[in-house]
Symmetry: C2
Subunit: 311 residues, 2 copies
Amino acid sequence: MGTTTTPTRVFINEVATRDGLQNEKTFVPPPRKIALVDALSRTGVAKIEVTSFVSPKAIPNLRDATEVMAGITRQPGVVYTTLVPNNRGALRAIEAKVDEINLVMSIGEKHNLANMRMTCDESLAGFRDVMGTMAGSGIRVTGSIATAFGCPFEGEQPLDRVLWATETYLNLGMVGVTLCDTVGMAHPRQVDRFCRAVRDRFPGVPFTVHFHDTRGMGLANVMAALDAGIDSFDTSLGGIGGCPYAPGATGNISTEDTVHMLEACGIPTGVDLDAILPLARGLTTLLGRPVGGQVARSGKRTDLHAFPQCA
Amino acid sequence: MGTTTTPTRVFINEVATRDGLQNEKTFVPPPRKIALVDALSRTGVAKIEVTSFVSPKAIPNLRDATEVMAGITRQPGVVYTTLVPNNRGALRAIEAKVDEINLVMSIGEKHNLANMRMTCDESLAGFRDVMGTMAGSGIRVTGSIATAFGCPFEGEQPLDRVLWATETYLNLGMVGVTLCDTVGMAHPRQVDRFCRAVRDRFPGVPFTVHFHDTRGMGLANVMAALDAGIDSFDTSLGGIGGCPYAPGATGNISTEDTVHMLEACGIPTGVDLDAILPLARGLTTLLGRPVGGQVARSGKRTDLHAFPQCA
């Protein structure tokens, strides 16, 4: 599979409180969100996408973004990032003194219209405004390429469009780019090809991948990305974070299953699995529904059983 | 990842009617089992593990093994195999004119005691008897190495013990060997190492891998095995097939998700996904419970949605 060096350490970015909670039926009140972020801050994750400075009408579940950002206790070494959909959100993010903001556009035009209610051109014009607003704030700006591995309306997206979006983001001044498999269409060979292509074309740029497990390929895609040299992964506690275009499907790849697999493979994640697992199990109570992720149910592969337990 | 050539075509062995049904709470009556096997026979799977010639007391769900084998309509090109635990089972298999039988021993001594109620020495002595019985029958004999990637009582098993078991099986005259991740402990790096080791040590021997998705790593392990040169996979419709030592966990890797991923990756499986998916969905009715597998719920990655469906 080529000559790329597999990373010897990876970074886990926890997105449950943003990507996960935004689509839940239940509104999680701010004190519980704050408690969850604070608990996650102590697990060793590299970054937490705390919330989104989005219109409360668009995403009522995250209407408490300012309160949550103000209420959390920041741990040194953890990056606290938020999604920002427009200039108004950027101003709120600056006020909240976040470490980083993340901008998102779907490269599938139709998905961008459905999800952001903007054409790609309109999204990019908005990004220019935001970059202007952020200039001098000292806050890093990253960009997510949604539907990078496929659009539910248009199908697979050409690699060239991913390369174009990456270049556009970088030219705008973004300091990192995330390739998002928004609706779980990525497969390992595609991940290998796309990840190698962006790394070859844009050496030195920090790339992140964001996978959903919609079709069961999430962790296989993690390994493919890892072997293609990617060292940064968006994951979600309990695998929460739905995809409205695939009813009944699971959401994001779960933090605990990803950490469990990578650590088993000898790739340090910095995350304490024993600290993460109780939080994943606690989500069932918090959300009032069973959540995804296998390891929280099955236990770790190193959990031995008494003999003969049920022979 | 080395110089091994990735297979350009893989073989799917369906195990749902044996590994899947044996642990179900519901007894599936013989006509329904026969209908399921017959439907599976028309999907393009290479092999079907139809049933097990085991004692009806040990596995009541498969007490109809003889009736089921007699009732199915065999398709040319499909191998019909059965599990055989002892000489008595071997005699029944010969009478049933199966194409192949499969013998199983756990290399974890404690798991073999719990599962087969025999020491490994006793299992191997039994295998010798069976090989004598099968001689001249024209029926192929293969062997499964259970707990090859870890035992729930003893933990990870040394590669040397897998190599020893393989050599022992081959010396007994078995014509193919399956490495089984009986309780879902395998991780991709281990799969890579073990698969390369057996292929290097025993060139030309047909190896199969049998993964469970207990900890979410099932499809990642498929890719690792594939890239290590393995071209034969045991899979189970709907991912049925439980692991009694991991309550709440999912079972075998699902046939439909495996086929979906491999075909997406451009690796032909011979299996018609559109024929498999309705069968997977039908299992929920047959078993009276939701079954595993993502693609049966989410649809294929190539299933496009109308715009704007739920913007």
